[in-house]
Assembly symmetry: D2
Homo-oligomer: 340 residues x 4
């Protein structure tokens, strides 16, 4: 069975494991206070063209989100997100478990607009409701779509006007950065959002996410929060080695581009065959709608994620590619689609 279920089915870009092996017996300071984390931070800062930000490495995405959000909010404050936002449904109430309401707004294509945020503010007017204090977006979104630079600028301006913290979850940032339609350079993010999380797990690392505070005041004492939430890796240099490897050259972008290319190939084959998509294709995720009998045949050889029934005889599924997707497998899938 060949899986297109997700982008975390394989290990890591080989250079990472090789470096871990090479460095294996060298002593390092614990808890992220080592030389590899330092180097990785420098490398990321350089890519971001930002010298005055604060970077912390965490192990996973839900962990990063809950640690950042609970660190920044007062107990009575909430975070506004698209209803499809990862923090709203797919984190088992992790944000609520730290005491904060996720104010979920119905959104099209997974993208939150200024109008959505305004609507959330309109219904939270006084101390009988939570106080909206943060806006959470993902880029790419959970359904693979991308924000334009203009959209993020509008959200940023609105957040500044309303004194809201603007936080961007970039779990698949490698894919966003290298998507054909992307118009946001990596170095532009410092002027767009207050906090950025750059994904490792889904972009070539074994695990690990880099949280970047552009608004440095927000990161005061952040290491206390990391430790308290169980997110401080004893052997923190393992995170350093990974981000160092991904960012010191162009590995991160190359891996992202490869994933996007593979998705594009599949998308063309599906479109050519005349099938439609539940969401416009932008990055390394595809949401084709197949007739059920076609899907049944495909599922004999390939594993996908079920998305939703679109009508009685059709089903939308999710196909995800990654740095590790074998082109050979992509070709096999394309052939199977063409045959269908």
């Amino acid at each position: 069975m060949i899986s297109f279920k997700n982008d975390y089915s394989e290990g890591a870009y080989t250079g990472i494991l090789e470096k871990m092996l090479e460095q294996n017996t060298i002593q390092n300071a614990g808890y992220g206070e080592d030389i590899h984390c330092q180097r990785a931070k420098k490398a990321i800062e350089k890519k971001l063209c930002c010298e005055d930000c604060a970077i912390h490495f965490l192990v996973g995405g839900t962990q990063a989100n809950l640690t950042v959000i609970s660190h920044c909010l007062k107990p009575y404050q909430g975070v506004i997100a698209a209803d499809s936002g990862h923090i709203n449904v797919h984190e088992t109430g992790a944000i609520e478990a730290t005491g904060h309401k996720v104010i979920a707004m119905p959104c099209q294509y997974g993208k939150l607009s200024v109008a959505d945020v305004q609507k959330a503010l309109d219904i939270h007017t006084d101390e009988h409701m939570v106080q909206p204090k943060m806006v959470y977006v993902s880029n790419p979104t959970e359904v693979g779509t991308l924000y334009t630079k203009k959209e993020l600028e509008q959200l940023r301006d609105f957040c500044r006007e309303k004194d809201l913290i603007f936080y961007l979850d970039g779990a698949r940032m490698a894919s966003a950065l290298t998507a054909p339609d992307n118009d946001i350079a990596f170095e532009a993010y410092q002027n767009l959002v207050d906090i950025l999380y750059i994904g490792g797990t889904k972009c070539g690392a074994l695990f690990g996410e880099a949280v970047v505070f552009f608004k440095k005041a927000l990161q005061k004492d952040f290491r206390f929060s990391i430790k308290q939430k169980g997110a401080m890796l004893a052997k923190g240099w393992l995170l350093g080695i990974q981000f160092e490897t991904l960012f010191e050259n162009h590995v991160y972008e190359e891996l992202g581009k490869y994933a996007n290319d593979m998705a594009k190939k599949i998308e063309r084959a599906i479109s050519k065959k005349g099938y439609s998509f539940a969401f416009p294709h932008c990055s390394n995720q595809l949401f084709p709608i197949f007739p059920d009998d076609v899907l049944k045949k495909l599922e004999k050889e390939f594993a996908f994620t079920f998305w939703e029934k679109t009508d009685e005889k059709h089903t939308a599924i999710r196909i995800v590619t990654s740095w590790a997707t074998k082109e050979d497998n992509v070709n096999k899938l394309i052939e199977a689609i063409e045959r269908s």
Copy 2:
């Protein structure tokens, strides 16, 4: 500088990294539902001689503690621990952050006795105080001492009588199992405690802790808690590979024994020189008390953890050995001590 500060300054037993590299491009199911985790569980069950327990792999120790404790307790319940217990001081209030009081009892040599637990119960008598519901111990303790089998049996019997959950943190279990004075076989734990956490991070793994529920009723829905606390690793098989490697043969015990042997060598040299110890030596941690001038000299070449001033001219420090401690470095330290 040669560090004896802790047992997490190096990477992992080489076999682990080699296996990760070997398996790197093979697709696995995510979130711990893969074949390596299955194998690792089987291997641990076999070592524990226990077929009817539930095992879950988490990334780190604070994470394991906060996830287990918050999963098991009702909101108004507390956990009794030695005042030196890891959960009481060194986890940045992680347990309290999940809503639970750590009922810390002053203890000698880091070990909680039935009398201590009774005392905690005596002062928590009704609904105006938290309800003690769990007893937390570490073996080895945070100061390197060991429980005897009899001591754990007494605690177990008392816990059963009082309907308390008995949880043992074995972050350094490899060292406990192979310590010269240890009288508790691995397979005995199933009859001693309700929940056991078997440490990986400090015992040869890159990271990872195995939580074993002997009392299976307690683990109902535990995967929800793992996910909610940000403790569910996307590429869960990385934990599987590690514990598989450590437990399918005798690697875990061998690494523990090696660490203990290195500590023993150092301990003999210190004793021979006439220095005393803040705590009796039992496992891979030593707490020698050095004259300050001696310490000053040693610290030019070696890094230790400061423990406490014992008087105006003496200081207790912590020396930790591990699977990765080079015997050569141990010899250098011994020579330096002998010269002092």
Copy 3:
């Protein structure tokens, strides 16, 4: 200015204050362990025709909801509610502050149906989402509508089938019980829901809510939760005296009926005048839609709660009557409406 803004603008049914004054210097046991609380419980049990339930008195509604819900749920469990439910918006994230997600479902007329609950279950399928474990409804709802007995039976049956706790917030129970369209006798509740909260604050008491656990297993150690949440009144007998007074005779129902009657009078006048309502009128709350110029005039003499703009020239407001509403003021309002 005559206020119809809410049903908690005046003190209490006079008999309550008189009894407090009469009993003022008599010593009572603290924390609800007094004879008045005992009597009040007996009186409520008698009205409910239920001898085997557990009753606790709390001070306020948000407090009752957060204490009950956090007591019953495991950390990873959530509560399903109508999006208009009090716990979803108007409690400043009180439920989330105890760690639990409110799974808010869009509902018509403030009423949750079996289909809504099923939909919530459909999208919460595994450990990556919270586990729905409780269903919360209000009767009357926040928009004054009533559940029929059949509707509650359907929800009850579904909850039993799915092992969900069924909790009913009766902050305005006096109004529900005596509403013209009500078909649920007080003694029927024991067979409909697992937990019931009977409102005092809005039904003639100075303050206070009675939480009734019909499913007694759920109330184990509830007094610990009451104390921990700051909800245990030192002079608990003040709650006892109030519920004793309301329930030993028919005061509770009489006060509820009076409030409903006053609302009905106003409703007739509004309907007669040809204005419509945002929600069907069922209990002591009315949501008339007035032309803005009419409203402007009315607001010179009367205070209402703004509900929403229904179009450019019309506004829905909320009018609430209570046991304390003076008929004289109702007549003045009716005259003003007729004049409008």
Copy 4:
């Protein structure tokens, strides 16, 4: 049976209930935004000689403590208290339930010193431990002792130096203010602490505590916290009426003085008889040590709170007087002691 168990066994200063009855049918704004709360605030400000503080009324003491502390602290911060402090043991983990560690320091006579706070800071040095951020003291303490002005000044100076919030729980402030040994005028508190809670429940009110923020920056958005914690009374003016009555004249002090006088009378009788005390007598609480046979006789007529066994044949108990203690009952107790 005549109870000396506590100072919350009777209702309220009669003037309070009379005023409630008098105002009963007058409409007031809800949630503390009424004219009585305004007046009460003015009256308290006047007594405190402080025009620039922010005052909020809450219902009970545990509630006040948990709301204030959780409002002021970041998630990873803890509060330092005497181990006998109310928040440490007698609030069922209410502070921990909001996520914060109570750093309990062993103290003599219930009083925290600068040395104790320094010791707490010494053992909380980095992000692996909670960050101490608040110092909590009670005056009178839980064992009836009083701080001197100098002691509070020292704590204040130390708190300022270390950037710690200084919070004083004055649940029995009426007794503190009027104790024979007290040297702290009410108007001095504004220069001593950052936040003060002035007790009503134990000082003549039915219920209610006034939280005074002298450091106004700390109270930003405090009403959100009040609401979220279930502490916002719908009929908030009930709190206003009570504090208005207690503070517009000298009622509060008179009630406190009376309670102290009654305690003094009893203390003299006990001392005269030759019995000793577990703690020095300072306010309205006495902790005499009686021979067990004497106690047994006394307990036939009088109810006390058991404190602790002091040796095999002696027991320390707690005797509490209040504004409501009948002098006649005091005389009866004295006679019984004399006879013993």
